[in-house]
Subunit: 205 residues, 4 copies
């Protein structure tokens, strides 16, 4: 019984693992269900035993993979650092570290097919929602200027972060992790045109 259940979970794990690999390597649309099954060492039918269809597997890969990131972000939100700059820098760090550790997952998340099937949109919306709540709290605490719109600025952060991270997974050599974190933190804290020393530099020391 227990052995059977263990074997079942192991099969599922291998499908997720190989699905992530193939999806990230060749793109979701270009990956055949049968190839994933073969790579996982099972028959096609088995894939459909564990997942409704190819897109159900895609969802599982993304939602289960992203869970760790969301947990870190939630932890940050629940135990926020004393100062705002430190918070923003931590937020950037978490995302950059995650991307660095899960490059394949990110390739899948940014895959056009994830977008087309609204899987990544759901995740984006969730991040936007987290950010929006945070912004609202910050406005209350007068940490954040009463921006024209918390919703828009939340979308702006998420859009900027995701776009940059997507680009970085594709061109990891263009910038080091540290400089990337510094740049992102700086942009979020003071925008593109502040002529003063970047706040986060002091912070990281």
């Amino acid at each position: 019984m227990n052995a059977r259940e263990r074997s079942r979970r192991e099969t599922r794990r291998r499908l997720i693992e190989q699905g992530t690999l193939l999806f990230s390597e060749q793109g979701v649309a270009e990956t055949r269900a049968i190839d994933i099954a073969r790579a996982a060492g099972v028959a096609v039918g088995t894939l459909y035993l564990h997942f409704k269809d190819k897109y159900d597997l895609l969802r599982a890969i993304l939602f289960e993979g992203i869970e760790e990131l969301l947990a870190s972000l939630r932890a940050l939100t629940e135990n926020p650092p004393p100062s705002l700059p430190v918070f923003v820098r931590r937020h950037c760090e978490i995302m950059v570290f995650f991307v660095e550790e899960h490059p394949m997952l990110c390739r899948v998340l940014f895959d056009p097919e994830s977008v087309r099937t609204n899987v990544s949109t759901e995740i984006t919306e969730y991040l936007v929602e987290m950010q929006k709540k945070r912004h609202r709290a910050e406005i209350k605490k007068k940490e954040l200027a009463s921006m024209p719109d918390p919703l828009v600025s939340a979308h702006a952060v998420v859009g900027m972060m995701l776009h940059i991270l997507d680009w970085w997974t594709r061109h990891p050599d263009q910038i080091t992790r540290e400089r990337l974190i510094n740049t992102l933190t700086s942009l979020r804290l003071s925008g593109w045109y502040q002529n003063k020393p970047c706040i986060e530099k002091d912070v990281s020391s």
Copy 2:
């Protein structure tokens, strides 16, 4: 001869027009070549007399459609307003106005298939390139802090702008055009956390 040439151009125009309409309504991947031809009032074969294939039509739609935007942006760059805040605001305005006037084109630009086939990536890269040059010039003129990386910050602007604009074409009722421009200008000038009055507010007066 001349009449024939005119008729030919007219056919091409209708293919572009109906292609934009259908691509934006049902998505690029979901639109059949035969449907575009039918909507344009010609036979499928005719589509292939004007365009190498379906993606050639997609490219034509996007590059010809985006030309106007690029022209406006180039004009702005070549005759920059005296002050930086005004420049940034104009830049945001141009993009928001363009999106407002060409919602269908934007839907096509952000379509997963445009992304997948790298058509929109080319356009994005072009925008990034423009932005990067601008940033470098600004750094020289000391208007811009020597950011950790002009390339990254260029990607960040473009990513933020495109993401927001994509979202706005889908949810035009969530925010007015004016508030959107204000928000974007403010974010670019002073980031998400400046506790002082938004710079562009003085400017717009």
Copy 3:
């Protein structure tokens, strides 16, 4: 041991019961082996311990279910009523009563899959055979005109009866049981065009 045997029979009974239910509700071809097993509260493998395959279950359902009908018909043949009209009416009654009491079984019997796999054909042939023997006996006894062909007229009775009964299980509200029996008896005794009072009416009194 005895308990085990009892449990085994009980499992078999439930498979037949749920098979009949599901086959009649959704059609034989559309019913999955695993659904029948689940409905019967056992695993798929268990179904295959009791029946060679899905069609073996179908056969069991039909032959065991129809046994009662055949027994009644045999009893009628072995102890025939004195007069022919009474015999025909009894014959119709038996079939109509049976259909009324086993509507699900009839739905399964008339299912295209039962026809395709010749299961219902076997039953039809058996009924035809019974009828043919009866006709031959009747011809000998001069009760039946030396029809052009006893085989054909046997097929004709069976075809007519089955078709009508199939229709009736689907449209039970179109006619009452009594009227149906009268109509069938009348048709068999005097055909479609006899202008005299229906024979069986006197009989049923």
Copy 4:
């Protein structure tokens, strides 16, 4: 233009022709779309250019094939012979002749798949409807006893006729065409148990 249209029709004709052949030979469910196309000398895609799917082809085969039969039956109804027995005999003749001339079509009509997809049911219903109207007219003219139910007796005729004809296409050697027509006419006119000379015998002379 005209040549193209002619070629298109010819292709369609060949698909219908070969579809009828293969459906009747191996059964509808067992016949692959690609086999029909190949037999018709075209690619699979072409089949789907002419018919929505395999069952659309099946419908076309049956409805177009049966049209001739329906036309004959309508002609009979519109110009009914003077006497009822002659009418019934003509009716039987038409159906028997049709079956004899189109055995493949009949095999397809009685195919379980035609039944399952309700194609043959629609045709049966149409025949029942014709018969019901006729019965009602006959009742008015006092030719037909006020049967318990014209609907049931209509279903009974159609069920009997179709069953017999189905059987005959499978066992054409069991009875000659003439005897079959005689038997059917006799059954319809006087039922299974009339001890007098068959009416239709006089008529056919």
